[in-house]
């Protein structure tokens, strides 16, 4: 059975993924802020280093899989947190455990979002994230934006998720050549504690991102629908899949972007 690590495994998609992997008999190390095996704040450089060091202590023989899932939505209203946790928290963890993954020819999964294909992201910010990678500089840039504006919040969120998907595409070939696969999962809107308590305006917007498999129900994706794909992708059964951004959104992306076949 495998040894896997996951960030953000205490709730939502992460918690379901932990549950699924454990039910398959795997050992899972959960890195989160509470109810976890390693407590670390991945929004800070210190927290990231702490998590990476702990994983090296706990897994001297390597890791079969790393699922970088921790993140916040745009509606958190904290643009710096979105940048630091969603992008830098993910990239640092993925890179930081690469040697552990290499030891076992493991696999890495990054949580992106299906919003990356909907044209709402600040692609200039995504470019700076990918091409410059200077966390403080990006935080300085976004600190000049109106963090109370829902469109601004969403545009920065999407930028981080777009940059993550592109990062996966960029590094996947060299990682695979060294025996480590990396893929991204792009979920649609998922039922979480946060979406359960949204206001009328936010619900209106959510329902205007229709999920074809849920047609007529006004309901969102279940966390286990995403978790099951993550568990598959991180497993050796998915050994032929590398550098992919897998949309797990019940067909929203196909509905809105039918002409994008590649």
């Amino acid at each position: 059975m495998g040894l896997y690590a996951i960030t953000g495994g205490s709730s939502g998609i992460g918690a379901k993924t932990v549950e699924i992997l454990k039910a398959q008999g795997h050992q899972v190390i959960n890195i989160d802020l509470r109810n976890c095996d390693i407590t670390a704040n991945l929004a800070t450089p210190e927290g990231r280093d702490e998590a990476i060091n702990k994983l090296h202590e706990m897994c001297p023989d390597g890791l079969d899989g790393m699922i970088c899932n921790a993140g916040v939505s745009g509606t958190c209203g904290n643009l710096a947190l979105i940048i630091s946790l969603n992008y830098f928290g993910t990239i640092r963890l993925a890179k930081g455990v690469f040697d552990l993954l290499e030891k076992k020819h493991g696999s890495c999964i990054v949580t992106s979002s299906n919003t990356i294909s909907q044209g709402a992201g600040r692609l200039d910010i995504a470019d700076i994230l990918n091409n410059v990678g200077d966390e403080q500089r990006v935080i300085n840039l976004v600190s000049q934006l109106d963090a109370t504006n829902l469109s601004v919040q969403q545009s920065i969120y999407v930028a981080t998720k777009y940059a993550l998907a592109r990062y996966v595409r960029r590094v996947s070939s060299s990682w695979a050549a060294r025996g480590v696969r990396i893929n991204a999962v792009a979920p649609g809107n998922v039922k979480t504690a946060m979406t359960a308590n949204m206001g009328e305006a936010a619900n209106h917007a959510l329902n205007a991102l229709p999920i074809p498999t849920k047609y007529g129900t006004e309901s969102l994706m279940e966390p286990e629908e995403i978790g099951e794909v993550m568990a598959f992708l991180v497993s050796p059964n998915a050994r032929g899949i590398n550098g992919n951004v897998v949309f797990v959104d019940g067909g929203t992306d196909a509905l809105l972007n039918s002409e994008k076949v590649y």
Binding site: G119, P210, L256, S258, E259, K260
Partner: protein, 110 residues
């Protein structure tokens, strides 16, 4: 009221449910105008997809029409707005079923 008039009315009112009801179960909209804008062409297949697709487009202001004029039994001209990019367009009801539901409608630049 002819199908093309109902189509224009639904588009003007941003009535995605009413728009979908105009189409046969497997009815399609092929919109070639948006190609060249920041959006891809629309090829929306099936009544439910039309319902969902235009719910999205209308809600997020990515699709609307203005200055509409029905020019004959099957065609209407209008200014199509794709998220702020304007295109003079002509919509054509290409085929209807025996119940008068649209099986194929195209939107092309005029």
């Amino acid at each position: 009221m002819r199908s093309i008039e109902k189509y224009v009315q639904a588009m003007e009112n941003k009535d995605f449910a009413g728009l979908a009801e105009l189409f046969a179960k497997d009815g399609t909209i092929n919109d070639y105008c948006s190609n060249g804008t920041a959006q891809s062409e629309y090829h929306v297949y099936g009544r439910e997809a039309i319902h969902m697709f235009f719910r999205n487009r209308f809600t997020f202001g990515k699709c609307s029409i203005s200055e509409a004029q029905v020019v004959n039994d099957t065609q209407a001209e209008f200014v199509a707005n794709y998220g702020g990019y304007l295109v003079m367009a002509i919509a054509t009801v290409r085929r209807e079923d025996e119940n008068g539901l649209i099986e194929r409608l195209t939107v092309r630049p005029k």
